[in-house]
Amino acid sequence: MDARHKLVDLAAFMDRVNRGEGNPDFRYQAFLEAVKVLGEGGNSRAAAVLEVFSDPTSEPIASATTKAACGAWPGELGESGAN
């Protein structure tokens, strides 16, 4: 029941986003990529979902322009403060 409840909640969230207007959000694009992971086999879906949202680079950024994380990597442009 708990998983069913969470799944329906996610479905409702996606419907809500579709009903909305405005420009695409990189966080939602990452979310859709992560949803695809759920259909894959294996025993490491949780790690795979977290990987989808993660910064794939390895070098420190030039400077921190914000303190907060936003949930998904905005890309190199976002890290420079443009996002």
Binding site: A46, E51, P60, A62, A64, K67, A69, G71
Partner: protein, 271 residues
């Protein structure tokens, strides 16, 4: 049940929280220095905070019969200003010998910037030069995996730092393996909205075992649950885990790590 809260920001919590924690079986609480939710305007603010962590809060906890320990640093969220960080770092040695200070923490990274790395290296040097335990904060959300890798590399680059004397906190499914594989301790933080849920934390214990892992609430001024550890213990029992297995994670492991500091006293009520 008995447990230790190895990561709680009690200066942000109420006396009701102390009562609830002790009633639920908490036998010691450990408080790393952290971000206040706003930037302090000068090193003087940190001086007062360090006094609070080493003088006032232990007395407040003692009123509830709870031993209180602390860790000192400038949090990575305030490390972008290297000048301020250097001033704060210069204050820390005068506090290190205070009786409830277990080590340096919670140091680490937030946005994985060059200045944050520089300040992290200075904290690691301070810990290495004084043979201190280290408690590490890993970044949030999208920054966690990269930041965890950078942090482990910094720690491993200093030959004085022994991984078994470092706890890497806030691990999740995509970072726990690298932490454990490289000999460090791993902390799982039980949060309602981010980090780990009780169910996911127990999943990781079932997958990776109970060696070198602890769990904490990291309760602070934000959305957090000071009883997250005992609530997770209940979930462990619901899954059928033995009392010894639960006690290992909730009590014995934190004791094993922190007693590496001679200042940590194993709670007298324990058996």
């Amino acid at each position: 049940m008995r447990y230790i809260e190895p990561h709680g920001h009690m200066v942000s919590r109420t006396t009701d929280d102390y009562t609830a924690m002790v009633s639920a079986g908490c036998e010691a609480v450990c408080e790393p220095a952290f971000w206040a939710g706003f930037d302090r305007s000068s090193a003087d603010g940190f001086y007062d905070y360090f006094c609070q962590l080493t003088e006032h809060e232990p007395k407040r906890a003692a009123k509830f019969g709870l031993p209180h320990y602390s860790w000192l640093c400038i949090n990575p969220k305030e490390s972008e200003d290297v000048g301020l960080a250097n001033e704060v770092l210069s204050l820390i040695p005068d506090f290190m010998d205070r009786p409830n200070v277990l080590g340096i923490g919670e140091i680490g990274l937030n946005k994985n910037s060059r200045n944050e790395v520089q300040v992290l290296e200075k904290h690691v040097d301070l810990a290495g030069s004084r043979d201190q335990l280290v408690l590490v904060h890993t970044p949030h959300l999208e920054d966690k995996r990269k930041g965890t890798r950078l942090i482990l590399d910094v720690l491993k680059s200093d030959s004085r730092i022994r991984p078994e004397r470092c706890i890497i906190d806030h691990v999740e499914e995509h970072t726990i393996k690298m932490v454990l594989d490289e000999g460090f301790w791993a902390g799982m933080t039980l949060y309602p909205e981010s980090k780990c849920s009780p169910a996911r934390a127990i999943d990781m214990l079932e997958i990776y075992g109970t060696d070198r892992i602890w769990m904490n609430s990291a309760c602070d001024w934000g959305v957090s649950v000071p009883l997250a550890v005992p609530q997770t213990i209940l979930e462990m029992r619901r899954r059928g885990h033995a009392r010894d297995w639960v006690d290992q994670v909730a009590f014995q492991n934190p004791v094993a790590f922190m007693r590496q500091s001679p200042k940590f006293q194993v709670p007298s009520g324990s058996h």
